[in-house]
């Protein structure tokens, strides 16, 4: 029997559509929505049977896994990668004197970056002095300096970068990727999320949720402090074969229970979660144990105790170990909780960014180098970005406000042509001006590198075929090797 999506009530309402339309998303496939037909979509049926077994991509993939480095709170593009010398010329002027500022929320004077910029590597990518380590490996990266989003608030902007939609309830990028490709290691989750030790990002689990996709595709968060995954050891006096028997018994009863409730797909996801849990008991302790790495590697990531990168570096190293073992998608969050515990530098850009840059610089550079040394960089796509950038003008004492109209992301490894760039903002870094890049474009490109056509990766739900990229998205070919 083909079940048309979940019963859990995450249906897109008319109001959702309006909200989305009002925020500039493209048209919807209304014909399907209004006809109410139950179209037999074969990927959906396949997903319900064996959700996480490896599946063939649409075409030869360039990358096998993704590591998404999410800078929560909004890293300032004009202080990190998008060098705007003209800001000095306009310092103190109102933004509106230089560019059209519709949508702006705060209006302090234009504020040149307090950081020094220089060109690095053969590519000559501009990078500020906050990233000395990353600068040394910057030729791996393709810079996207003309990305734009649709919300000035954290939660919707997070949802957009993670799911393509500013509303909650849609499947995340990691869910789409594991839905499309399964995962190569059946003993570990296909999609792992590690958030910051100071707390998760606002909006929480929907950022890695599976929306209307089957629950097996949601991200599995590992604990952000101390032991990453608790409860990996069986109770005393319960041996593995006996536990296996118990699980078989449970599975038999659960399937009987589910037979009369076929549309409650969380029930199925629960059965899957116990099977995965059983297998994780042997695989996860080893996979997440970074103490098995030698000193040179640990040093590369800068995780010696007391280093600013101690924490994020450990997570980057865990991420490498996970993708090495066939995990499909890993998302790391830098920054958590509230205020200056994340990149949300409203009051003081240097106070905030000095701290977060130091915490991420060596870990990110170490990750790229380590992946390269192990021959993994070619098959691992590393993505860097936050939910938005920050205003080129001042807020508070010496801070910057949220800024979705033009900001920077970068990608490296997995099929990326290092040293390239695509997109530009205007002279002060306000609007994405040249080769404007939507989040759908970014997602389309990521799926493409993973061997999937974003227009063909669909899931039938509530009478229509949904996509990660809705009805938009263009692959950015010029950054692909």
């Amino acid at each position: 029997m083909l079940i048309d999506a979940s019963e859990t009530g995450n249906l897109m309402t008319r109001r959702d559509m309006l909200a989305r339309a009002g925020c500039g998303f493209g048209s919807l496939a209304l014909a399907g929505l209004m006809s109410g037909q139950d179209l037999a979509a074969s990927p959906s049926a396949r997903a319900d049977k064996l959700p996480l077994v490896p599946k063939s991509p649409h075409f030869a993939s360039r990358a096998k896994s993704v590591i998404f480095l999410f800078m929560y709170g909004g890293p300032s593009h004009v202080d990190l990668f998008d060098y705007k010398p003209d800001l000095a010329k306009h310092a103190g002027k109102k933004v509106g004197e230089v560019v059209d500022t519709k949508g702006a929320r705060s209006s302090g004077g234009l504020f040149p970056s307090p950081y020094k910029f220089a060109r690095h590597g053969q590519s000559g990518h501009w990078v500020s002095d906050r990233y000395p380590h990353l600068s040394s490996v910057i030729d791996h990266t393709a810079m996207l300096r003309g990305v734009y989003g649709h919300s000035i608030s954290h939660a919707p902007a997070l949802f957009e970068l993670n799911t393509g939609m500013i509303r909650t309830g849609f499947p995340s990028l990691g869910s789409w990727v594991t839905y499309g490709l399964g995962t190569d290691n059946q003993d570990l989750p296909g999609f792992v999320v590690m958030y910051d030790y100071r707390g998760g990002p606002i909006g929480g689990a929907p950022n890695w949720g599976s929306g209307f996709l089957p629950g097996a595709f949601q991200g599995t968060p590992v604990r952000s402090r101390g032991t990453p995954i608790l409860n990996l050891n069986r109770p005393e006096k319960l041996e593995s074969p006996q536990q296996r028997e118990l699980l078989d018994y449970a599975s038999a009863l659960n399937r009987r229970h589910m037979a009369s409730r076929p549309a409650d797909n969380a029930l199925e996801a629960r059965i899957e979660s116990f099977e995965l849990a059983y297998r994780m008991q042997s695989a996860a302790p080893e996979a997440l144990d970074i103490s098995r790495e030698n000193d040179a590697t640990r040093k590369l990531y800068g995780i010696e105790r007391g280093n600013p990168g101690e924490y994020f570096g450990s997570q980057c190293l865990m991420a490498r170990r996970l993708v090495e073992r066939g995990v499909r998608f890993v998302q790391l969050y830098s920054g958590g909780g509230h205020g200056d515990n994340n990149w949300d530098a409203h009051g003081n850009i240097t106070g905030n960014h000095n701290k977060h840059c130091a915490a991420t610089d060596q870990p990110m550079a170490g990750l790229l180098q380590d992946l390269e040394q192990r021959g993994l960089l070619d098959e691992t796509l590393v993505v860097w970005g936050g939910e938005f950038g920050r205003t080129p003008h001042k807020q508070g004492g010496s801070g910057r406000d949220h800024h979705p109209f033009g900001f920077t992301m970068w990608m490296a490894g997995g099929g990326i042509k290092g040293g390239t760039s695509y997109g530009e903002t205007d002279e002060i870094g306000y609007h994405a001006a040249v080769d404007r890049t939507s989040v759908h474009d970014v997602h389309a490109t990521i799926l493409h590198l993973m061997g999937m056509d974003h227009e063909r990766l669909t899931y039938h739900f509530s009478g229509r075929d949904f996509r990660l990229t809705d009805v938009a998205g263009e692959v950015i070919n010029s950054i692909i090797a």
């Binding site: 009530g9 919807l28 995954i229 849990a277």
Partner: protein, 621 residues
């Protein structure tokens, strides 16, 4: 809004016909109680609620199920109202009762149980962003904050009218200073997180962060509005101006959190209670763009203009309630509950929607903390209005509303599923079937102990800190949880009494989606991940409880006259099923259970343990 109607040339009009005329502000309109529609399908309907359900069902031709059987109904009702399963005896008595009034009597009995306040109090604590520590880096504990939690449970148990419950949460200390419960309820204001260890201008920012916490929680909890959005600029989607926001700040800016000695315990002795201490009215500037360094004009205190149609003077509101407070909070209390010329209509809608949400799994307005422009429209607008009107006309008492809802046919229906109706209405917003509901983290933990026979049903009192794996505690330089706890009756309390430390949530709760108490939460996330399965399979607490469950089952089998002194396998399976699922096993289930127990290396503890993990244990039909 007009331009929204056209998307890429496709006109959306056909989809809009079911929306209220003015989608942005329906929630801001005064209560307009509709007439109950005539019943279409009289035999099914049990009360007025069902008429509204049938009205929409017949528009679409998707009709709801008949009643579930009694065995299902009693388990549903017990979990719903108390969070604890019925005993075997209670199930048997109810199922065998020939009385047509047995169901209604059961509901009434459950509503008078003290466990009702524990169950529904927990729902309210999510909304009240309750926590027992400051949050943020140092996350200092608040050892006296539990008194608010107790006050909430007590208020619900005594069926305090909801309007009074609300008034006391914002101004109980002034309104009824001689009633300790009234003052303890002001713990609502203090419940949220607090930035500590800051100096200079950051101290002032921290003050305004605190104000934002209070104003945002007040808006979300009582009115389902995202007032916090107006901190830096006028609200984008709702008629809430930045000035409105700062007028609300004005009620709280003069006050601060402080302990008082209150006689709220059973003993009648005074205990230290964390409450709100108001202050004298002070200058209250609008902060341009939310910036403490850009102070604008003084706006005093006041309420949301859009819910103050007559522009009532705050002085008149304070007079109307008859208790003066310099910081104006009594006026705020009056406005929140004023149905005729204040926010009372919206307040009533928001709370009946919360009741509906917890009875059915989803609210009539799905976004129960957002009734504004980007929230969802109600699926049954007429029903929402009617229920709100019923609450108000019934003196704001919640227990009769529970009774009304639970006696409806739509509540009592079965979970039966069929493809035809599923295709017609996959999201079930027409309520054509009962959605099985997953137990929340707290109720799952309570159920494990209740099944094992270890649950300590003691009510009220200071919070407890149960055993937590040292792996989970040792995360930084200082331990935020004791490392030497040995579980026993003292910690086998209901989960609502477990200490809620923001930076160190008990892993059982953290893993099963308990919110972190950093902001008001109307709807919990419901994730299904392998780390939850690992917890149920391997966690020491769960395993220990399985041991107690096994001992209880063996003893019960023995008492039931099982041969071999309680070692008869069918008797063990039978007893375990009754304790875990409120029913006996079918023949096939009996065989499966006996088959497992008979395997070499298996034992009763293992068998009991695995029952805790089953979907039937975690989902209630």
């Amino acid at each position: 809004m007009v331009k929204l109607l056209i998307i890429s040339g496709l006109v959306l009009m056909p989809l809009l016909t079911a929306m209220p005329d003015d989608p942005v502000s329906w929630a801001f309109h005064p209560l307009e109680v509709e007439e109950v529609p005539p019943a279409k399908g009289k035999q099914w309907a049990r009360n007025e609620i069902d008429h509204f359900i049938l009205e929409r069902a017949s528009e679409k031709g998707v009709f709801p199920n008949d009643s579930a059987d009694r065995q299902t109904l009693i388990r549903r009702a017990y979990f719903d109202l108390t969070g604890l399963a019925p005993s075997r005896e209670e199930v048997v008595n109810f199922v065998e009762s020939k009385s047509p009034g047995a169901y209604g009597e059961m509901i009434a009995r459950l509503l008078s149980s003290s466990h009702y306040g524990e169950r529904w109090g927990r729902h309210w604590l999510d909304v009240a962003r309750f926590g027992e520590s400051h949050g943020y880096e140092s996350d200092n504990e608040r050892p006296t904050a539990w008194t608010y939690r107790d006050a909430v449970i007590r208020a619900l148990n005594e069926d305090m009218p909801f309007d009074r419950f609300v008034r006391w949460q914002v101004a109980g200390d002034v309104l009824q200073g001689d009633d300790p419960l009234a003052t303890a309820l002001t713990g609502f204001i203090t419940s949220g997180s607090t930035v500590t260890n800051v100096d200079g201008v950051d101290r002032e920012r921290a003050t305004y962060d605190k104000m934002d916490d209070i104003v945002s929680a007040t808006g979300a909890a009582f009115l389902g509005l995202t007032i916090g959005c107006a901190r830096c600029h006028d609200h984008k989607y709702d008629p809430i101006s930045q000035e409105d926001y700062y007028r609300l700040v004005g009620f709280f800016l003069p006050g601060k959190a402080g302990d008082r000695n209150l006689a709220i315990g059973d003993s009648g002795n005074n205990v230290k209670a964390l409450t709100w201490r108001g202050g004298n009215k002070r200058s209250n500037p609008v902060l341009k763009r939310g910036d403490v360094e850009q102070k604008g004009g003084d706006v005093g205190y006041g309420v949301l203009s859009a819910l103050d149609p007559g522009g009532t003077d705050m002085k008149r509101r304070i007079e109307a309630i008859g208790k003066e407070s310099s910081d104006g909070r009594t006026g705020l209390a009056q406005w929140l509950t004023d149905v005729d010329s204040g926010a009372g209509g919206l307040l009533a809608r928001v709370i009946v929607n919360r009741l509906w949400q917890h009875h059915f799994g989803t609210g009539l307005v799905k976004t129960s903390n957002n009734f504004g422009g980007v929230g969802d429209a109600p699926t049954h607008p007429g029903l929402l209005e009617w229920l709100a009107g019923k609450l108000v006309s019934g003196g704001w008492r919640l227990k009769p509303m529970h009774e009304l809802i639970m006696n409806s046919a739509v509540y009592r229906q079965s979970t039966s599923w069929d493809k035809k109706r599923h295709v017609a209405n996959p999201g079930n917003d027409l309520l054509w079937r009962r959605q099985p509901l997953r137990l929340e983290a707290e109720i799952l933990r309570d159920s494990i102990m209740n099944t094992a026979g270890t649950l300590n049903r003691k009510l009220y009192g200071p919070s407890v800190k149960p055993w937590v794996s040292s792996d989970a505690i040792k995360t930084g330089s200082t331990n935020k949880w004791p490392t030497n706890v040995k579980d026993g009756p003292g910690t086998w309390r209901r989960s609502i009494y477990v200490f809620m430390r923001r930076s160190m949530r008990v892993p059982f709760f953290e893993t099963f989606d308990v919110p972190d108490g950093m902001q008001s939460r109307g709807v919990r996330e419901q994730t299904t991940v392998a780390t939850q399965a690992l917890l149920l399979l391997n966690n020491k607490f769960v395993r220990d409880q399985a041991g107690h469950f096994a001992a209880r089952v063996v003893a019960a089998a023995k008492n039931a006259g099982s041969p071999d002194g309680g070692k008869s396998l069918p008797a063990i399976v039978e007893e375990a099923y009754w304790l875990a699922f409120s029913r006996g096993p079918s023949k096939e289930e009996l065989d499966l259970g006996v088959g497992l127990l008979a395997k070499e290396g298996q034992n009763v503890e293992n068998f009991c343990h695995i029952l805790f993990t089953l979907n039937e244990f975690v989902y209630v039909d």
